[in-house]
Structures are given as structure tokens and as C-alpha cells.
Symmetry: C2
Subunit: 80 residues, 2 copies
Amino acid sequence: MTPTAAPSEHLLHFGAAVRRHREEAGMSQEQLGHRAGLHRTYIGGVERGERNVGLLNVFAIADALDVPAGELLHVTPRSP
Amino acid sequence: MTPTAAPSEHLLHFGAAVRRHREEAGMSQEQLGHRAGLHRTYIGGVERGERNVGLLNVFAIADALDVPAGELLHVTPRSP
């Protein structure tokens, strides 16, 4: 399996997935941060793909969004 | 959705998944580390659930194991 994406693309994809699920849940970044035990500005950085999020925060965000953590990592392979 | 597991259990589950896929692929920790661009001792710490692995390393390990990253995060909810 060829690498699915360049490193920074992984973070951008993850951030976009977090944003999509957050907006679908009608939550603000502040509300998501509060539920996940993280600061609003940290959530903003995650959504912009600026943070190499650790697993514990991946699961905290997924739990706060009420989605399986693996779903936030689902990456569509780059077209060749 | 109730939190799937206590924080450290997430790391233990992830480590067990990495080990299971590595062994299924017939790789040593050294070989996996080499393919992922990580040190053998780092892989050992990951498999023991001692490392809060960042997303970039999660994807590097998943690519090296040739499995989707989300599969390594699949957690079976704790029985109540």
C-alpha cells in the first residue's frame, strides 16, 4: 500500500474530519474543547492541521464528538 | 457513546494492535522501525502502551504495516 498522504496532509485530513464532525454536531470549538478537556485554541490548531495530535487527545476528541476514533483517521488515498 | 476506555487502555489497545499486525506480517520490531523511520526501542515502547504516539507516527507505523491507520485505533468498548 503506497503511503496514503504526505505527513502534513495527514494532519490536515484529521483536522478537516474533526471540523466536519464538530459542525455536524452543532458544536463550537469552545464546546468541543470543553467536552474533550482541551482548550479552544488547541482545537482550532488541530482543525487547521497544525498539531501532531497525540493518541490520548485523538481519543478525547473522538469521545467528545461521539464518533469512533478510527473514523477521524479515515484517509482517502491520493489519486496517483 | 460512553468513553470507550480509560486513557492508558487506549495506548495499550493501540500497542497490542501494532504488535498483532507486525507479527502477522512476520516483521521484527527492528524491521517495522526501519520501515516506519522509527527506532526499534520506540516501537517496543509503543507496543507496551507506554507512548502517547503522535498522529504522524501513527500513520508512519500504519503505512509500514500496510494497514489503514484507523484499523490500529479500533477499540472494542469495555463491557459494562
